[in-house]
């Protein structure tokens, strides 16, 4: 987008200083970033491409009419970069903020920008992967499964709407915080006690929901029957269900959990063993 540089009242420096509070500019950069993030993720540079492309999208705002500096700006960011996209949006914001400062004052050397970018990537990814990939998304999906397991589309709709309703403001707020507050903003995020308390609360919710979803989704039964002194005892109905509904499913679930947690088996290995158990279980009627 071309920026009118012929307005005499505002100097380039003042214009650059105003960029950090320019809502239109921030919105435009945010939406470009949201799409750039998903493009050309490779093992060599991971999300590096999106950082370079965001700078390319900001080229006319930072260095209007100066192709050499625009190229240098993009070239600086064509390096490896990887974090978690949502929480990491603060890093894209910080880098953009620092590049604005560099364009304005020329006092932010590339070394500093790269060091800060690399230093923040891992801790932010740690928070993001835990809160987002291990807690929020699976818990939301568990609720979705609970709503849709009988065939209703409601679960999918709820999952999509709630996901977007949380992800959008979160990513946008952190991106804006990054541009405006810079590294201080990131330190607040990494060091805050609020984060630990939030994680504990979400963990609690998650465990309860998983318990409930296992109750509604896992239904493993045995068809074994015993003949004791002429009386036929159905193991599922007269023993397991009599103790507590679903107790056999619970035992099977615990066995799987034990293999994952205590035995550290991989998912593939467990699946292969389960296939064998299913075959044996089917023919011996241990599993029905």
């Amino acid at each position: 987008m071309a920026v009118n540089t012929n307005v005499p009242a505002v100097s380039n420096e003042e214009r650059l200083a105003g960029l950090k509070n320019d809502k239109k500019f921030i919105n435009r950069m945010f939406w470009w970033l949201m799409f750039h993030i998903t493009q050309l993720f490779t093992m060599e540079r991971m999300m590096g491409c999106s950082m370079a492309m965001m700078m390319a999208s900001a080229r006319e705002d930072l260095y209007p009419g100066d192709p050499e500096k625009q190229r240098d700006l993009v070239e600086r960011h064509m390096v490896f970069f990887n974090t978690q996209q949502g929480f990491g949006s603060i890093i894209w914001g910080i880098c953009l903020g620092m590049e604005i400062e560099q364009a304005r004052t020329g006092e932010v050397p590339n070394d500093i920008i790269q060091t800060i970018k690399t230093a923040l990537a891992s801790p932010i990814a740690g928070i993001g992967d835990t809160l987002w990939q291990i807690l929020f998304t699976p818990i939301l999906l568990s609720i979705g499964i609970g709503l849709s397991s009988q065939g209703s589309p409601l679960g999918a709709i709820v999952v999509i709407v709630v996901y977007a309703a949380v992800n959008f403001p979160l990513t946008y707020t952190l991106f804006t915080l990054g541009i405006r507050a810079g590294v201080d903003g990131a330190e607040t995020l990494i060091g805050s006690a609020l984060k630990d308390r939030l994680m504990l609360a979400v963990e609690t919710l998650g465990i309860i929901i998983v318990g409930g979803t296992v109750g509604s989704m896992v239904n493993i039964r045995t068809a074994l029957e015993f003949n004791i002194n002429g009386v036929v005892v159905n193991l599922q109905e007269q023993v397991f269900d009599a103790i507590y509904p679903g107790v056999f499913s619970l035992i099977c679930f615990y066995l799987t959990y034990w293999l994952i947690k205590e035995k550290k088996w991989s998912a593939m290995k467990i699946m292969l063993v389960m296939l064998a158990v299913a075959a044996v279980g089917y023919f011996t009627k241990i599993l029905a």
Binding site: L147, T204, V210, T213, G215
Partner: protein, 261 residues
């Protein structure tokens, strides 16, 4: 039920759109690649929402604990396979339970094609990235952005869109014939296998959540409310949110531990 040409084309387009990041970018990317949301799209296209969602839930349960951290996936890739595996299973089976078992089998079997296809795609992307670099070095930034999108979207269409269209059309007859020939015990074993698999997804998820053994009480609390008392998962969510809120408030600055002592 047969998959029509129009449905196959729509499935291909949906597979491309869901996997390429073009639907709302990052805002939707991560949730689009989930079995539950994919099943929703398939239900719309195939006109049988109920069966699609039941299958979606079974596959989602297995993939609940699946994570992708630093580009490393913990479960076999089925992001593309679902787009033809689920519709074909719907076409080939008589009931939702059987369809779910069949869909899961097709998807897991096809991950053997999908994983190398993904690796190949990554190599092409690597080359594409250097093509983009060359535009930047020549100071053609506008073209660099355009090249990024053309490579990514073109590749996604070739990797996710086209194969789904072709496999949905070509594969269905072969699989329907095969399913008709299967002896009943094979279906029986697969159905039993599917019911066991459900424990895996939840197990992986719980393994990430549980920090100490006392937290098993929380798990049993949720289990008992749903299984023993018949409370819906949605109601349980509200109860859980209430408890989570209490935990959040009471964990303030460790005051509670001091009070507890």
């Amino acid at each position: 039920m047969q998959i029509t040409v129009l449905q196959a084309i729509l499935l291909g387009i949906a597979s491309y759109a869901y996997n390429s990041g073009i639907l709302g970018g990052w805002i939707f990317l991560n949730i689009c690649s989930r079995p539950l949301t994919i099943a929703f799209a398939i239900g719309l296209i195939m006109g049988d929402m109920k069966t699609a969602m039941i299958i979606g839930c079974v596959i989602q349960a297995l993939y609940l604990g699946a994570t992708s951290i630093g580009g490393v996936q913990s479960m076999p890739a089925i992001g593309m396979s679902m787009f033809f595996g689920i519709p074909i299973a719907m076409a080939a089976s008589s009931g939702p339970e059987e369809a779910a078992a069949l869909a899961l089998t097709i998807c897991l079997a096809c991950s053997a094609i999908e994983t190398p296809l993904k690796s190949f795609g990554n190599i092409v992307k690597q080359a594409a990235l250097h093509h983009v670099d060359s535009f930047v070095h020549r100071n053609k930034l506008k073209q660099a952005i355009a090249a990024t999108y053309i490579w990514q979207q073109g590749l996604c269409f070739l990797m996710y869109g086209l194969p789904v269209m072709l496999l949905a059309l070509v594969g269905q007859d072969a699989i329907i014939t095969m399913v008709a020939l299967l002896p009943p015990w094979v279906t029986g074993v697969i159905t039993t296998f599917t019911s066991l698999l459900r424990t895996l997804g939840f197990g992986l998820l719980l393994a990430g959540l549980l920090k100490n053994k006392a937290q098993w009480f929380l798990f049993l609390f949720g289990f008992a409310l749903v299984k023993g008392m018949g409370i819906s998962v949605l109601s349980l969510t509200f109860i859980g949110l209430g408890i989570a809120y209490l935990v959040f408030v009471l964990s303030d600055k460790g005051e509670t531990t001091k009070l507890g002592v």
